[in-house]
């Protein structure tokens, strides 16, 4: 057990979780107090001692599933296959490496067609029969995933193959259809419709998770714990690279950004309040002097009026950098109370001011959606043209830059070999307090190909590499 635990802690550390020595000792002690055969209890005991942040939960769960997969009751694939009722066993499709399980295939109806499988799955989902869903998930993986031992592909590939064959969207529609038929008058009110859909959706999610677990279990058996853990390792939300984030990762980034903005706002507000002292507050000093008989022992000071910077954000929202721009806009506007004024501009090859979207919309997500649909950012062909966008900016809004303004330029400065018009940045620099450039590309790629960030950089106060939330957060907190 200790070996497994050490390996597990090592894996967590490799995944980026800060696990200290005392914490791993705690974990070892905690394990004594829970029944080892209870996998859930073990999981919570380890989580409580090793994981100290909710954003790290996902990474923990993945590692846990891998390291303790073999030891759970679910792993007894052979054992409970006979136990599940009214489900003919069919493991004949299993690859050769898993042959010892293949022999089970003789037990039940040999030729379970995909249609029958789908039918049974449908029924299990309809009745929310969890045991059967789990069994069918196992079945589906065996049949559709086509897993080959030793083949160096990730689990997502098998997941995709399995899900494609199951056509869960179609199943959802069928479920909805039959729910409608079961209703007394043959139709559902919109509210019922919505609730039924959510219910089925959550059952489908459970099924999908079952399937993922099953694939992982088989991969563990095939490749061994450590190798698999390494291949499943994913960056923590704050370390995800904006430029290469998958759709799921973007979703997790979006979830992470709201608490982040709140934290940032609280921190900045506090910093302001506890900053250096302001001028003497005479009234307050006199009031407090009464307790010392009118002698002003304890002078009171006014809180300083903080100098809040004005911000102008100019963001490239073309293709690959769009995600980055969105997060930055999100962050800046969420803490806009920390600035005296925030104005935002977006461009591809044309440029448009988007401050109005943030002012009218109640929440930032809404505003971002409207920006994507309504802002007028295409001038000729919809390929980034920094030069044109900047010169139009200068023409239309350049006058409004004041010595209190900080200008943020966001983008990878990949200019498609257009003219750079870097004199604009120079002019901006003359008028503004600061000019910063945030580049979501790794530093090593700067000034390669059509990237001209170096040319703009000469006129900026500083150029920052800003590839993930951690870097972005650090920059914004220094800015305010």
């Amino acid at each position: 057990m200790l070996d497994v635990l050490t390996g597990f802690v090592g894996e967590l550390r490799a995944a980026g979780l800060p696990v200290s020595l005392t914490e791993s000792l705690d974990a070892a002690e905690a394990v004594h107090h829970v029944p080892l055969e209870d996998r859930e209890a073990l999981k919570y005991a380890l989580a409580a001692t090793l994981v100290k942040s909710s954003t790290h939960w996902k990474a923990f769960e993945t590692a846990f599933e891998v390291y303790f997969a073999m030891r759970g009751p679910q792993f007894d694939i052979d054992a409970d296959e006979g136990g599940t009722v009214d489900r003919p066993d069919d493991d004949a499709d299993l690859p050769q490496g898993e042959g010892q399980r293949g022999r089970q295939g003789g037990g039940g109806g040999e030729g379970l067609t995909p249609e029958e499988l789908a039918e049974m799955l449908f029924r299990a989902l309809m009745n929310a029969n969890e045991a059967q869903m789990a069994a069918l998930a196992r079945q589906a993986v065996g049949r559709f995933a086509g897993m080959e031992p030793g083949r160096p592909v990730g689990g997502t590939y098998y997941l995709y193959r399995t899900l494609r064959n199951l056509d869960l969207d179609g199943v959802l529609e069928r479920l909805m259809e039959s729910a409608r038929q079961e209703a007394p008058d043959g139709t559902l009110t919109p509210l019922e419709e919505r609730l039924a859909r959510d219910e089925f959706q959550s059952r489908l999610d459970a099924l999908r998770k079952e399937i993922e677990d099953e694939i992982r279990r088989r991969l563990v058996a095939d490749r061994g714990t450590e190798a698999l853990a390494r291949s499943l390792r994913k960056p923590l939300p704050e370390d995800i690279d904006f430029m290469h984030a998958t759709r799921e990762e973007l979703a997790s980034l979006r979830r992470a950004i709201t608490p982040l903005t709140r934290k940032l706002a609280v921190r900045l507000a506090r910093k302001r309040r506890h900053g250096r002292k302001g001028p003497l507050d005479f009234r307050s000093t006199m009031r407090h002097s009464l307790s010392t008989g009118g002698v002003p022992v304890d002078p009171k000071f006014r809180y300083p009026r903080p100098a809040k910077p004005e911000i102008m954000v100019i963001a490239d929202i073309s293709g690959s950098v769009a995600a980055f721009a969105r997060f930055t806009l999100h962050l800046v506007h969420a803490i806009s109370s920390q600035f005296s004024k925030v104005r935002s501009f977006v461009f591809i090859d044309g440029i448009d001011e988007i401050t109005r979207f943030f002012e009218t919309a109640d929440d930032v997500a809404d505003a971002v959606h409207r920006i994507n649909t309504e802002a007028d950012v295409v001038w000729v062909d919809g390929h980034s043209d920094y030069g044109h966008a900047l010169s139009v900016f200068w023409e239309r809004w350049g006058e409004e830059i004041t010595p209190r303004t900080s200008v943020l330029l966001l983008g990878d400065a990949r200019n498609n070999y257009h003219a750079t018009q870097s004199w604009v940045v120079q002019e901006i620099r003359h008028r503004a307090r600061h000019v910063y450039w945030l580049n979501p590309e790794p530093r090593a790629y700067w000034d390669t190909g059509d990237s001209v960030v170096g040319e703009y950089a000469t006129y900026c106060d500083e150029v920052f590499e800003c590839r993930n939330l951690r870097q972005l957060e650090r920059f914004v907190s220094e800015l305010a």
């Binding site: 200290s20 705690d26 209890a41 919570y44 909710s54 509210l191 609730l195 959510d198 934290k263 929440d363």
Partner: protein
């Protein structure tokens, strides 16, 4: 009294406190299942994770750091644990600017002053009526070196004794003879530096008072810290705690919570309430409805005499659940218009 080292504050002459951990006392729970069933009797429905962490906290004598969105029952958990274990609940509400004198202990300086005054009155009565003009006790030293020196030492020992100590929540929890649940509420509100105050209490279960010595726990209290996650807590604090993330409950658990907490609600209505709330939480809202708001909503519906919700009633009472206008609009739109794919 009994919780302190016997030696008074005679400088370095104090014997060092024996190393080792205070006695944890008899365990409060027998097993994870026991935690669960007893909490359920007390009206708090714990899932496996919650019960497991509470059980471990008791066995390992470690504090629990409970984090999660507002209104998911973080404070309630501590209260319920106190209730079912017949413990006294001592609560320390954290706020910005909380300091030692509010969290740990404070010398009752008014009483100390009185004591000094009283001493002087007695001394004056002894035969030196003229001395009453001086403000500081030390000024007496001018009169008779030996006599007032002794008197001063006596006085010092006297005024820095337990009698003049005001115990604040943390010290009180440590000194208590009975079983105690200590709740440090919203620990993320104090400044990072203030967190350090908690560390000694949380890891050693002791409080060091320079004038008195170290006060060690008679019986280790069960400590809960709650945090709304408005800032990252320090590593040092996290390391000393077990971590529990309380999220919105699953559908089944929320339904059960509604059933136990709302008197007079039917099973069907509770089920509908839980389902609608789950649907709302899948939407992209500014603030998701919390468990306490779910309960408020369920109570509202019961008071209105609703037995089964339809869309109109839901719309009319949604403001109990959602507190932002944009959220309300979005929710009522989503709930009444069937999904476009449907």
């Amino acid at each position: 009294m009994s919780g302190t080292d016997e030696t008074p504050s005679a400088g370095g002459a104090r014997t060092p406190a024996p190393l080792g951990f205070p006695e944890p006392g008899p365990p409060r729970f027998d097993s994870v299942g026991d935690v669960r069933s007893r909490l359920a009797e007390g009206g708090y429905l714990a899932d496996d994770g919650i019960a497991g962490v509470v059980y471990l906290a008791d066995r390992l004598a470690k504090p629990v750091l409970v984090e999660g969105p507002a209104g998911t029952g973080k404070t309630e958990l501590a209260k319920s644990v106190a209730r079912v274990t017949d413990s006294r609940l001592i609560r320390l509400q954290c706020y910005e600017g909380l300091d030692e004198s509010k969290a740990l202990y404070e010398w009752n300086y008014k009483k100390q002053l009185l004591r000094i005054q009283a001493q002087r009155v007695v001394a004056d009565g002894d035969g030196e009526p003229g001395a009453s003009g001086s403000d500081l006790p030390g000024a007496e030293a001018g009169h008779g070196e030996t006599r007032s020196g002794v008197a001063w030492r006596d006085l010092e020992e006297d005024i820095f004794s337990e009698e003049f100590l005001l115990a604040r929540p943390l010290l009180e929890a440590i000194r208590s003879q009975e079983s105690v649940v200590l709740l440090v509420d919203e620990v993320d509100r104090v400044e990072l530096e203030t967190e350090a105050l908690l560390l000694e209490v949380l890891s050693e279960y002791q409080v060091s008072i320079p004038e008195l010595g170290t006060v060690r726990a008679e019986r280790i209290p069960l400590v809960f810290l709650t945090s709304n996650n408005t800032r990252e807590l320090s590593e040092a604090l996290k390391r000393r705690c077990l971590y529990l993330h309380l999220d919105y409950p699953s559908l089944e658990r929320e339904r059960d919570i509604v059933l136990t907490r709302v008197p007079g609600i039917g099973a069907e209505l509770a089920d509908q309430v839980a389902r609608i709330v789950r649907s709302l939480r899948t939407l992209d809202l500014k603030k998701y409805p919390s468990v306490s708001e779910t309960l408020d909503w369920a109570r509202t519906l019961v008071v209105l005499g609703v037995e089964s919700i339809d869309a109109e009633q839901a719309k009319a009472t949604l403001h109990v659940l959602l507190k932002y206008r944009s959220d309300l609009e979005r929710a009522s739109k989503e709930l009444t218009v069937a999904d476009a794919q449907g």
